[in-house]
């Protein structure tokens, strides 16, 4: 009874310095010989299959391990992937020619049947794929001969190639068929033909990838990638600062300043495929009046909001499309859309034309503690200047999202959406289609008509100049009728420790582990 306590105390006190010595983190040798990258994301990946893990942390790993039939080039145009070429025998079908002599990392050869099944599985309700909404126009995918895959659509869909570049990941049919629900889980894992193979996948201790030495394409410069997840933003920053983590995409534009000052760390930002906007529910009281909506658009200081929310790593939005989609569609020749610049006098003049010349009061639910809270407070302050009083109703994040998705209490809402492809048709039906103006849809303004639906329908089959003109016409109508006030586009960013570079990183080529290389290599 007497001595053990004291002995334990002594042991513990002795232990501390010992632990301290052993604990000196191994600072990685920064230099051209370093080919292992320690990457950290702010969320843990949950699945190596896009059908069940369609989120940033998961797709980052999927991209490195799984090939898609089609890829996107630097401008966002479809380019060969596992398919070396394709033809379009009819407007509503594609025939892909499979790359020859490609093997999965388990040694089995890639067949046309694998490729076809990898697409059609997303249509199977038993899989409950999160990517199913991308492939609603796919009727069937089938192998034709040994090296061809034919995809038949229910209707012509020029955006098919772009969505295929994001979600048509090719996996062995045998594996996918055996695991409709849990392919890509830590227990089952996945097998691909990509530049890396999975050595370890654990939600707790992280993921390890190694270079696929028999990869058919150019070999990545990194030999090994260790992927960790650190949910606390400040801990993540300290881990990069101390050198335990070499690179991360877990920084948001708003906090960029905290990162750009870190010694030995380089940050780079590139336009993200997103748009932040205010949705004005056109069926809700005063918001029915287009003059009220225009007054709101004039009264919101978007420039100030952009600076506040993106810390200089973003741009003010002028139309309701993500920036990279605008660039992919128009190049440098973006047309001028109807705009409502920040102008309180113009706002008051618009309001005077409405049935509410002296303003009105409206309840506004928002998610407390989120970006939305900051934006909505700034918007409320702006609108108060023209007599529109927003009564702020904070609610917890999940409650707010549930309400929003049920389309309950819609009025003035802050929304920030990210997209995957360069296709405006991925965005516009969400904004002004009537099908999306119902619970679980993203048309929170409720703006839409049979005529607009017909135009969206036409757009989904349009190509070339026709497509450009139709998008311009729709964006112009949104600009005039103001069911939405576009606010800003936020850049994506990564932080890299000295010793690594990421040349050519862009929104259409977010394959971090292929892009990142030891400096000088």
């Amino acid at each position: 009874m007497k001595t053990p306590t004291i002995r334990a105390a002594v042991v513990a006190l002795l232990l501390l310095p010992v632990a301290a010595c052993a604990g000196s983190p191994q600072k990685g040798a920064t230099g051209a010989d370093r080919d292992t990258l320690v990457w950290a994301s702010s969320a843990a990946p949950n699945s190596l299959d896009i059908a069940h893990g369609f989120n940033n942390a998961s797709t980052t790993i999927q991209l490195a391990v799984l090939d898609t039939m089609v890829t996107l080039d630097a401008k966002g145009a479809p380019a060969p992937g596992l398919a070396t070429s394709w033809t379009q025998p009819t407007p509503d079908s594609y025939e892909f020619t499979l790359r020859k002599a490609v093997t999965f990392t388990d040694g089995s050869p890639l067949t046309a049947d694998d490729a076809a099944y990898s697409l059609s599985r997303h249509l199977d309700p038993a899989v409950a794929s999160q990517a199913a909404s991308y492939f609603t126009t796919v009727k069937k995918a089938e192998a034709v001969g040994t090296d061809k895959v034919r995809v038949t659509l229910t209707r012509p869909n020029p955006a098919f190639l772009s969505v295929a570049a994001i979600a048509w990941q090719v996996v062995p049919r045998k594996l996918a068929e055996a695991h409709p629900r849990d392919l890509g889980s830590p227990e089952v894992g996945t097998v691909g033909t990509g530049p890396f193979k999975v050595v370890k996948f654990s939600l707790t201790s992280g993921t390890v990838l190694e270079r696929n030495e028999s990869y058919w394409g150019p070999k990545p410069a990194l030999r090994r990638v260790e992927i960790k997840s650190i949910s606390d933003a400040e801990t993540l920053r300290m881990a990069v600062r101390s050198g335990e983590v070499d690179a991360t995409d877990g920084l948001n534009a708003r906090d960029a300043r905290k990162w750009t000052n870190l010694p030995g760390v380089t940050t780079s930002f590139y336009p993200g495929n997103n748009i932040a906007y205010l949705s004005l529910a056109v069926g809700n009281g005063p918001l029915k009046d287009v003059h009220v909506r225009r007054a709101i658009a004039h009264a919101v200081d978007r420039q100030a909001l952009t600076t506040l929310m993106t810390g200089g790593h973003g741009t003010t939005a002028r139309a309701m499309l993500p920036m990279p989609q605008m660039t992919a569609l128009y190049g440098d020749d973006t047309p001028k859309f109807p705009d409502h610049p920040f102008d309180l006098a113009a706002a008051k003049a618009e309001l005077a034309k409405s049935a509410y010349p002296d303003g009105f009061t409206m309840a506004v639910p928002y998610s407390s503690g989120s970006d939305g809270a900051t934006v909505m407070q700034a918007v409320a302050a702006d609108l108060a200047k023209i007599g529109i009083k927003l009564t702020m109703e904070p609610s917890p994040g999940d409650r707010y999202v549930a309400m929003l998705m049920d389309h309950k209490g819609l009025g003035v809402q802050y929304v920030n959406l990210s997209y995957g492809t360069p296709e405006p048709i991925e965005v516009l039906p969400d904004m002004i289609g009537r099908a999306a103006a119902k619970p679980q849809g993203f048309n929170f303004s409720g703006y839409g008509s049979a005529e607009l639906d017909a135009r969206l329908d036409a757009l989904s089959e349009a190509t070339g100049q026709e497509r450009q003109d139709q998008v311009t016409a729709l964006l112009t109508e949104i600009g005039e009728q103001v069911p939405y006030v576009p606010l800003f586009h936020m850049d994506n960013g990564i932080a890299l420790r000295d010793g690594f570079t990421a040349p050519g990183l862009s929104v259409w080529n977010p394959n971090f582990f292929v892009v990142i290389r030891p400096a000088g290599k």
């Binding site: 009874m1 007497k2 001595t3 306590t5 004291i6 334990a8 105390a9 042991v11 513990a12 006190l13 501390l16 632990a19 301290a20 052993a22 604990g23 000196s24 983190p25 949950n46 699945s47 069940h52 369609f54 309700p125 409950a128 999160q130 199913a132 909404s133 609603t136 629900r181 849990d182 889980s185 830590p186 227990e187 654990s202 939600l203 707790t204 201790s205 992280g206 960790k228 997840s229 650190i230 949910s231 606390d232 400040e234 801990t235 993540l236 300290m238 881990a239 600062r241 101390s242 335990e244 999940d398 409650r399 549930a402 309400m403 959406l417 990210s418 969400d430 999306a436 679980q440 993203f442």
Partner: protein
């Protein structure tokens, strides 16, 4: 025999407690807004078929009693289901994370007692003196610093500035585990150690005027013998109680510290699972936590019997 009765009674009560816990947790999760399908699909359009498939897979449209009964039926057979988020069996999810949390809790408790008990005794021995006042002040300060603030301080000081310890993660080998868990364990142990110091000091002071101590001193026993053999053993009961509670708290609720040190333990899992509406994981975690509290308390009671013969003789009264 009395001990067996005690254990049996405790276990019966534990079953009732765990049953109530599971109903309440399940009910609260079901009643809270949003559902797993929103978590799984994120801010992305989804087809009605996908949403229907997810709802059907997790029986989200069934009435609450039916869903609960289905869960309970599986649970009593030892099947806690599959995590909605990661599609791993829940038992694996928890087993994966338990070593981290158990290591952290054990390490923190070790530091807490190794430092808290002797320092508390020292303070009591030098009652009112400069050392006692210093210890009291120090423990008050440590008690006042919340664990997450302590975590950030330790991280900046020892991991970033001095570089002695790693910033995040739990390490793979035993040696790595010890170095990785040292700062988090210190962050947890700081306030808890202070608590034990206060407890120990108070318990030892109570004893100071007791006859048996006076008698021991009068017999000319050495000071160390008097304090450790007589005082420490007699002061052990309240300290044991505190220790048990701390252990249970560390095993089930080291959320902030785990978060700050990027540890994938049970606390971090609970936070994530609640926000993901991952009902099977939350249910299993809550039951597991409940069981830990029950078991730890039972162990403390049994430890009383070992430490204190007076309790042993009156065990039935416990």
């Amino acid at each position: 025999m009395a001990v067996l009765t005690l254990v049996a009674r405790r276990l019966a009560a534990a079953l009732v407690l765990l049953g109530a816990l599971s109903v309440i947790t399940y009910g609260l999760l079901v009643a809270s807004p949003g559902g797993p399908e929103q978590v799984l699909l994120g801010t992305r359009p989804s087809t009605p078929e996908t949403r229907a498939a997810i709802r059907a897979e997790y029986h989200l449209d069934d009435p609450f009693p039916l869903r609960y009964a289905r869960w309970l039926g599986d649970a009593v057979h030892g099947d806690f289901g599959v995590s909605i988020y990661s599609r791993e069996p829940v038992a694996d999810v928890i087993a994966d994370r338990l070593p981290v949390t158990a290591g952290l809790a054990g390490y923190a408790l070790l530091i807490t007692f190794a430092v808290g008990v002797p320092v508390g005794l020292v303070a009591a021995m030098g009652r009112g003196g400069l050392l006692d006042q210093g210890i009291t002040l120090g423990s008050l300060v440590l008690l006042a610093v919340p664990p997450f603030a302590m975590s950030i301080l330790l991280l900046y000081g020892f991991a970033v500035t001095l570089g002695w310890f790693p910033v995040f993660g739990a390490g793979e080998t035993f040696a790595e585990r010890v170095t990785h868990l040292t700062l988090p364990a210190l962050a947890l142990a700081a306030a808890q150690g202070a608590m034990v110091v206060r407890q120990m000091r108070a318990a030892a002071l109570d004893l100071a005027g007791q006859d048996f101590l006076t008698f021991a001193r009068a017999r000319g026993l050495p000071r160390a013998r008097v304090w450790i053999g007589y005082a420490l053993r007699n002061a052990a009961l309240p300290v044991l109680t505190v220790g048990g509670l701390l252990l249970a708290a560390n095993l089930t609720g080291a959320l902030f510290v785990e978060q700050a040190f990027g540890l994938h333990g049970l606390g971090a899992l609970l936070i994530a699972a609640v926000s993901q509406k991952d009902i099977p994981v939350v249910q299993a975690l809550v039951l597991f936590s409940g069981a830990i509290v029950v078991v730890v308390n039972l162990l403390i009671d049994l430890a009383y019997l070992v430490v204190d013969p007076r309790v042993r003789h009156g065990a039935v009264a416990l």
